[in-house]
Symmetry: C2
Subunit: 314 residues, 2 copies
């Protein structure tokens, strides 16, 4: 099944303990699309400026990604400058130049209207809701968000959360969204706001999916909702070269795998969590999207087996 | 098979967001022994003062723990005062009163000499080495340590590490011990100093065992050592009442289960990692050792199944 992703296509300038790169292809939609492209058909909606070259676009099209929804406008592309010198687990943003992204108004090409799955990458929740409305017939919708939207645009964000099949965020975002420092309680509060499933990414410690289960009696004695967890590991890596895009690559592996399955069963969902971790682990091995451009499905499945092996009890 | 544990038997005064307790039974050897007692015979070597009551000792003996190695001397018992108000994941030590523990010189009763397994809880590595020397025939030796010994008593600690079958420490201690912020590289450096296996505890994210594997070619192209990981999950809990002793309870479940097995196979080791997590998850549900005093093996095995269920891929 095909996935439509809407989000940023950008250039990143990044420094990490392993070196620095300037103005390399990045953006949430880019990482997501490349990652998901190893599993299923992917279509991108985004906006780029005049600095976005044919070679940049070929990075996507070589992976079979449909870029007809990538709007080219006058001006410069979104440019993010960040550093991981202080902390490899958390980016320090040095500069955010929105450029053409500032007035991004997603338009859905007619050819995309039959997309099966929809991924709303981390953009303004007003735009996320807008795209969601224009795709009433998609079978499954997943989304991402970040601290800025959680903190300053909560009301708009809530309208997006209500309609999500799965929300994918990290620990800090989950705790902020629920205003609770306990992860399980935070998960239950978030699930109560709408998403059917919550996937919380823990970086080098893997990720946890929380499935929403209606219960007759919840822990406080009232009918309510229980968050049933599933934990997927991460592979210990000897060098994390560049963490940029790891979360979006996780989302791409997760949702791409789900879209490749005949049915979204609990088993498929669990394997999707593992594939998410696998794609995240590849992404961080090189700067930018470099590693995601060179993979093969055999390589991915070998690493999937490795993930299973390092966490499997007979 | 029987386990001999040497370590602190103490009183703790603790405050957490869930309340505070004063002068409750604690200490690494206490948590370890209670936890391991659900799996196998446990013998304790430690020292206590006149404030250690018959009722305190009965907490151990009721669980069948052999306390003949618990020396009673004049003075007060070790007393630790700590707070988790600022950070539930890391204790802030408010006061450490070593008292009778300051001059602790472990003596091994004749009745303990046939112990099969030895656990060296977190004490002065000189004492750890001393006990190890007096027990030349034990089949397996595991140990713990902490930042203070890593930082200020490295040479003595190194002599202990050489003889360990498994070292159990947390993330911060591992990175400090190896002087490397990357966990996999840190693990390989630590394994190169002697321990056959390294168990790194990640708190709410579970734990990773790193098995030492000699390789013809390591990643830098020279013959060397590879750390082969195995990841065990933690159970998301809705309330962590008191994290004190979670690591020692993990060690007790881990080593206790191993001692209960006819053979220490890779499979047994993996299950032991899960049992470690299970016992740690119980320990934090109530203040001090309260929860560890009331368990049943059925309850433990039910939770073990739950750990398996939340991380098992078909």
């Amino acid at each position: 099944m095909s996935i439509l992703v809407v989000g940023s296509v950008a250039f990143d300038s990044i420094e990490t303990p392993h070196g620095r790169v300037d103005h390399v292809l990045g953006g949430a939609a880019t990482f997501f699309a490349l990652s998901a492209s190893y599993f299923t058909d992917v279509r991108v909606i985004g906006v780029v400026g005049e600095d976005f070259t044919a070679e940049n676009e070929a990075v996507l099209t070589r992976r079979g990604i449909d870029t007809r929804g990538l709007e080219h406008v006058a001006g410069k592309s979104f440019h993010w400058t960040g550093s991981y010198l202080k902390n490899l687990n958390e980016a320090q943003t040095l500069k955010t130049e929105l450029n053409v992204f500032e007035t991004f108004a997603p338009k859905i090409p007619a050819a995309y209207e039959n997309s099966d799955f929809l991924f709303l990458a981390n953009i303004d929740p007003v735009l996320q809701a807008n795209v969601r409305r224009q795709m009433p017939n998609v079978k499954m919708v997943c989304g991402d968000t970040m601290n800025y939207w959680i903190h300053d645009h909560r009301e708009n964000l809530n309208k997006v959360l209500v309609g999500l099949d799965a929300l994918l965020i990290n620990d800090g975002e989950a705790k902020m969204l629920a205003d609770d420092s306990n992860l399980l309680r935070a998960a239950e509060k978030i699930l109560a706001t709408g998403p059917k499933t919550l996937v919380i990414k823990h970086g080098e410690y893997g990720a946890t999916a929380f499935f929403s289960e209606r219960s007759f009696l919840s822990r406080d004695g009232k009918p309510g909702l229980t968050a049933v967890p599933f934990r997927a590991p991460a592979l210990p890596l000897d060098a994390v070269v560049d963490p940029t895009g790891a979360g979006d690559s996780f989302a791409g592996g997760f949702f791409g795998y789900l879209a490749s399955q005949p049915e979204v069963t609990p088993g498929a969902f669990k394997r999707a969590m593992f594939y998410g971790g696998v794609m995240g682990s590849f992404a961080v091995e090189k700067f930018g999207t470099e590693r995601l451009q060179q993979l093969s499905r055999e390589e991915i499945d070998r690493r999937f087996s490795r993930f299973r092996e390092i966490s499997h009890l007979d």
